[in-house]
Assembly symmetry: C2
DNA sequence: CTGACTCAATTGTTCAACACTTGACAACTT
DNA sequence: AAGTTGTCAAGTGTTGAACAATTGAGTCAG
């Protein structure tokens, strides 16, 4: 239904391009990105006022943003004691991998050859993964890794499940930045993903599921090892976040510039 | 670690019983209850200011509560157009039942005889269900029904999964109040639940799973029929909620009375 | 060393004001 | 009459300031 207009726009463009997200959502998106990218480490304390002024928003707006993220599980809120970036325990990791096995394996088994769209995206994710490894961009590599698995979930064709899975994967990513760049074999997982993809397009679902199960097992074991290694450091707890007034949100008067702020 | 004190309290009681929930959470709990009980029907519009004054809280606090519920999926927020109680579509119902099959059936299959605690709670849920039917308390009956299924999920032993399932079930309940009291055979499901319970304690998991699958199938079909029957009524859309200043939150000066407000 | 007290810092909550959108209605044009 | 353009009220988004409540740390007498 995209009607064409003489001046070259379409109705659809008019609606979709215009920047129509609340400031609180944008702030939440920025914080989410910083947490997921590891700039804000688990356990970091986030006082409202400095955080708000550093982003150039009011305290109320910042509180809304913080609330969004604490409901999403990225922040932990202790009443009258402030919020901190959530911290994954070993038990959390076990729970998350239990979920992954529970959701990803049936997803693979349900992956019908008809979903060519998903297959294409999977292929793209594997390629991007390989490219990220080649250029030693570890952060992007992690993203591609998780993107691949998120796409597997799509075979279930269930929006609620997909958003739940993304939330879970987000928590995991927060734990993985704790692993930092201590990857022992960074590129080792590309062939695994490629193999999974090939088995999938070949329709060999059971074989694919078996390899996936093994892959998840390995992945959990590796993360578990790293987390056990660098246990809780009581001295370094409650790190205070440093703020720079550099990255401010655009004021309304400044214009409606960057629209690529929203998270996920 | 519950130390006893001369005046008869324990440390644990001191911490847990004291009313230490933010007002916004309480407000969210109240609204959640009203939505889930059907007092606020799907599609109802909820303007901030009257809603805030009717509960005796400030507009900001009400916005906090609304934010919580919209992230939970109970409210739908249209920017600059206000919030409405979320409305389930037929597709939503299909999605939810897909999830239920996906989560409940493996849960039953994973139900080991060792979980006597869960078995006891299941038994209690069935009994309460029967009692609710006997006393024709349909709202409570629905609660017991859903409580039974929530307990099944506990066999997975995964907190994240359980909270996700509860959220999904909450949405479903919102749809079920739409069904209203049009239950054709109200008590018909008690024997099914009892049968499920018995098969479970007997360790006959596969048989139990089969009956559960059938039960979910029937349940989805019935809900689908009812929803198809009373389709969207364009005239009755955007109903405005009526507010009575009767039910106000206790002011701080009034005391720290009711602590049973928090949701879930 | 313990316990009571003080005090600064931070969070929870409220209030009032302004900016911005939206939907509806009246006025206007053709 | 139909469509377009002002106008306006109602409601939401955001801000800034204020006050209440809680916490954690420091102080000081016993």
């Amino acid at each position: 239904m995209t009607r064409n207009f003489p001046w070259g726009f379409t109705r659809r463009m008019e609606r979709s391009q215009i920047h129509r997200v609340s400031v609180a959502d944008q702030v939440a998106g920025i914080l989410r990105q910083r947490i997921l990218e590891g700039e804000l480490r688990p356990g970091t304390s986030l006082p409202e006022i400095p955080l708000a002024t550093s982003l150039g928003v009011s305290r109320n707006t910042m509180r809304e943003a913080v609330r969004i993220l604490s409901i999403e599980g990225l922040l932990r809120r202790n009443i009258h004691r402030g919020v901190t970036v959530a911290q994954l325990s070993l038990k959390d990791v076990q729970e998350i991998y239990h979920l992954r096995r529970m959701l990803e394996i049936p997803a693979v088994l349900a992956g019908k050859p008809g979903r060519t769209d998903v297959f294409q995206e999977l292929r793209a994710a594997v390629d991007a993964y390989e490219e990220a490894i080649r250029s030693r961009d570890w952060a992007k590599a992690v993203s591609c890794d998780l993107q691949f698995h998120t796409l597997l979930i799509r075979f279930h064709g269930n929006r609620r499940l997909e958003s739940f899975y993304q939330k879970v994967i987000g928590e995991l990513r927060m734990g993985m930045v704790l692993v930092d760049r201590s990857h022992d074999n960074p590129g080792g997982l590309v062939p695994v993903h490629r193999k999974l993809y090939q088995l999938l397009v070949a329709g060999k679902r059971k074989q694919c599921a078996a390899i996936l199960a093994q892959h998840l097992e390995d992945s959990e074991a590796r993360l578990g090892r790293v987390m056990a290694g660098q246990g809780p450091k009581p001295g370094a707890r409650a790190t205070r976040a440093k703020y720079s007034r550099a990255a401010k949100l655009p004021t309304r008067a400044d214009g409606r510039g960057n629209s690529a702020v929203a998270g996920r």
